[in-house]
Amino acid sequence: MSEPEEGTTTPSRREARRVRRASAKQRGAWYPRWFWPSFATPAIVWQILFFAASFYVILAIAFGTQDFFRNPLPVFQPWWWDFSTFTDQLGRIFGGVYQDVYLRTFGYVLTASLTCLLIGYPIAYFVARYGGRRKGLFLALLIMPFWISYLMRMYAWQSLLERDGYVNDVLTFLQVFQEPFGWLEGHGITVVIGLVYGYMPYLILPLYGQLDRIDQSQLEAGRDLGASPARTFWRVTLPLSKPGILAGLIIITLPMFGDYYTNALLSQSPRTTMIGNLIDLTYVTPGLAAQGASLVLTIVVILIVPMLWYLRYTARAAEAK
């Protein structure tokens, strides 16, 4: 992440280090070479053992074989890899039985993310610019959902959305519906609402962070030059908040692609099956591990670009601090 910079600044940095080390040595105390690396070692070992190795197992199983009982037999030597299960899965995704699930997932995630943005932006904007002395209060309220487990929040909706639940009570009272609507009877809209509700806080916070960093004087400058408020917003605020928007969108779309519990709790219909549900099915059904591994690979391929972008973004933000 910080490597590009490292490449360019290494000489000077090395120089500085040498100077410092020299002076430190004179003073009689310096860290041995192994000193700092030893701090990082446990985490490095951990990551190799559990993160890198796990993903290698995914590859070994997706490209591996199976025994007679269809238990996966991972193949750890790349030269023996067999891509037939994986290509079978790809065939099911492109033009096959899974195509609808993938398209649907994209549809849900996109709709939910944009809805989150549409609702979340004004809120983040308001708190960042007009929060004033109440900023702390607003922030506390905004982060509160973070500490309420996602499950609990979905679970709460489950009872609210029942046919005789409060949502229908309110909607029929307001005459939006003539009779109660069966929210939980397998509708995409319910799943999208669930996703919006579940992931909104994760969007608002980074967005707020970005908006809060915008220098008020830049806005004033815009206005002093005669721009209308709308124009100031459009030409100054919005472009300046773009990284926050992107970061927020990515931070919510990534988990949404792997979400299966929203659907499981709010719909249960094959009509609203998402990719996450397919993966979960391979977990609960024995003998489908190779398929599961293949599905995981497809998601990783889909998400790798936004993930890398996000990592770079956060790294840069950290440098900027």
């Binding site: 910080s2 951990w46 991972p74 308001f126 959902p145 609990m152 679970y155 029942e162 916070l205």
Partner: protein, 308 residues
């Protein structure tokens, strides 16, 4: 009613030529619509949960119609209540066990890594940092399944259950400690340590006597966050659980929500909520106390910026 509201608008229109809507003309005025959206959103985000909490005190079995206040589902019912149900009670302990173990492992490893990364910046460290953050942003179901398959087929000496669950959680919870401690390291710089070493302290001593105390607030903050996040976790721990007695409360809630939800599940969820909030509040207070006298920014804000 209608005419009454319309009339004043008609008379004021000529006095604000730039805009037909007065508040729109003055950007420094209070944006009432934005504020309204914010409050409606906040209500929307908190209300369902509040209702769910209330229904844990429902007398009857319904989660959607109020049948009177009681502690039936918390304590009174000898079979089904949260604290007396023979399946839920161990689940509470399992939740705490996982959260505590995860915190105890993730925070030290993460802190050490952040220090090492900050001072060393070698290639392996950068790569490991990338891996830590990657594990953090990758959808949990992917990491969960990957770890599950790994424990089943490669690291077979690690049994599913508590050990596997803690390992799974630590793998991505480290990230919190790394991010938070690193941010703190950047703000405190190296001067204090170097000063200590100038005064003749050994490297280990300067770390122990100078750096660690300075990092304590950050470690507290990350411990609180890791604890709160692990106690709520569901995807990773579900995939890595073994027998049903290794399923923590979150998994029981998911199971029950799909099977036979009763207000006892609301009670279970409420209990988790209270635990989480207590820990977060304690962490927050500790953070504030420990950073007293330092940069006076809104502590909430700082806590938030650590979060993301």
């Amino acid at each position: 009613m209608k005419t009454a509201t319309r009339e004043p608008v008609a008379t004021t229109t000529p006095t604000t030529p730039r805009s037909h809507i007065p508040w729109f003309g003055n950007p420094w005025r209070k944006p009432r619509i934005l504020e309204a959206i914010t409050w409606v959103y906040l209500a929307w985000s908190v209300l369902p949960v509040t209702i769910a909490v209330l229904f844990s005190f429902n007398q009857g079995r319904s989660r959607s119609s109020w049948q009177g206040f009681s502690l039936t589902w918390w304590w009174e019912d000898p079979y089904e209540s949260l604290f007396r149900n023979p399946l839920l009670r161990p689940a509470i302990f399992q939740s705490f066990r996982l959260a505590i173990l995860t915190t105890l492992i993730a925070v030290p490893i993460g802190t050490a890594f952040a220090i090492g990364l900050d001072r060393w910046r070698g290639r392996p460290a950068t790569a490991a940092n990338f891996s830590v953050l990657m594990a953090f942003v990758v959808p949990e179901i992917i990491l969960g399944l990957a770890l599950f398959l790994s424990f089943e087929h490669l690291l077979t000496f690690i049994p599913l259950g508590t050990v596997a669950q803690v390992i799974g959680l630590v793998t991505w919870q480290i990230a919190y400690a790394v991010i938070i401690v690193r941010a703190r390291l950047l703000t405190i710089g190296r001067e204090y340590e170097e000063a200590a070493m100038d005064l003749g302290a050994s490297p280990t001593k300067s770390i122990r006597r100078v750096l660690l105390p300075l990092l304590t607030p950050a470690m507290f903050a990350s411990a609180a966050i890791v604890f709160a996040d692990s106690i709520d976790d569901f995807v990773t721990v579900r995939y890595l659980s073994a027998a049903s007695d290794t399923e923590p409360l979150s998994v029981k809630i998911y199971n029950a929500a799909r099977a036979s939800p009763t207000p006892a599940v609301n009670a279970a969820a409420t209990f988790m909520l209270i635990s989480t909030f207590t820990i977060i509040t304690l962490g927050f207070i500790a953070y504030r106390v420990l950073t007293r006298g330092q940069r006076r920014e809104s502590a909430v804000k700082e806590f938030v910026s650590l979060e993301v």
